[in-house]
Symmetry: C2
Subunit: 187 residues, 2 copies
């Protein structure tokens, strides 16, 4: 192997560091915390799990969703995470304790995707109910909603926290701009 | 609305900035470039599209995949992007020209997810062929492969480029460590 290419998994052994049979069903999504020390998985088994990436140990199981957990995002400070579920809700979790902090209610169909703004204060969710919603992560309240004509499958937010891009199941790509975020207030 | 919450879409109008009927089928994924100026969508219509997030204009259509494009990741420098497809390949694209630079061949089933390492030199892909593969983005060559017992649905790589987390369709979460990446060479 040449210089500047990588050595294979786990030093010379070529073997996986750790595999854990944590979930009882399909893992839909994984996210790694900003510090790289923990990861969170979202599963069709209705739970999320927090993992120690160093040891591969399962740290917490996040229970509360009544249907599949489709997506997960971790806040920039790593202290909270948000999950999107087939049960039409999102949930905010304390990543230290594994406790549910808030349930975000408002969508009327599966919530398919979620992204957290870089300031860590707001999240955007995509749903098959034809809406994108913005949530205040501190209060758990819906701050804004945009209605399209088709279900939304995916969403992303830019590094400056201003541009939101979302895709729907008709093939449309939507561009939205968030104004007055962060310390700008309601000017 | 209180201070520090956000104003609704597109200043006072409450309306979407731009919606474009770009794809002819379901949009599976969207990614925003690091500078926020462009976004890329991946669709079941076998194409990806590059968008100007400011104007909402479609800049390029990336054609070449023979089946659904499931996932897309943009390199840290924004100059290239990589797509994962049902056609069992990944493709590297020049985001400026829209030209296909490389096709990454090696998977034997749908490629479901892709992530680019923070150094921009390598990518990891997840496939229903039960493998995770590491690719050298410059050469387009497969550098390493890890075989599991089930199809992989999702993968992520940590900010330090060392830890890879992937989830499979049995519920397992896999942790892998990339050694000797970047300038460390083959020591």
């Amino acid at each position: 192997m040449k210089d500047k290419t990588l050595k294979i998994w786990h030093t010379e052994t070529g073997r996986e560091l750790k595999t854990l049979t944590g979930h009882s069903h399909w893992v839909n999504a994984v996210a790694i915390a900003p510090d790289g020390k923990t990861a969170i998985s979202a599963s069709w088994d209705k739970t999320l799990k927090i993992w120690d990436t160093e040891t591969g140990s399962e740290l917490k199981t996040l229970t509360g969703h009544s249907d599949s957990a489709y997506a997960v995002a971790i806040a920039p400070d790593g202290k909270t995470a948000i999950s999107a579920s087939e049960d039409k809700t999102l949930k905010i979790w304390d990543t230290e304790t594994g406790c549910e902090l808030k349930t975000l209610i408002g969508h009327t169909e599966d919530v398919t995707a979620v992204a957290i703004a870089p300031n860590g204060k707001t999240a955007i969710s995509a749903s098959w109910d034809h809406t994108l919603k913005i949530w205040d992560l501190l209060t758990g309240k819906e701050v804004a909603s945009f209605s399209g004509e088709h279900g939304f499958n995916c969403c992303a937010i830019s590094r400056d926290g201003v541009t939101v891009v979302a895709g729907d199941n008709s093939g449309r790509v939507h561009f939205l701009r968030l104004e007055g975020m962060g310390d700008l207030g309601d000017v």
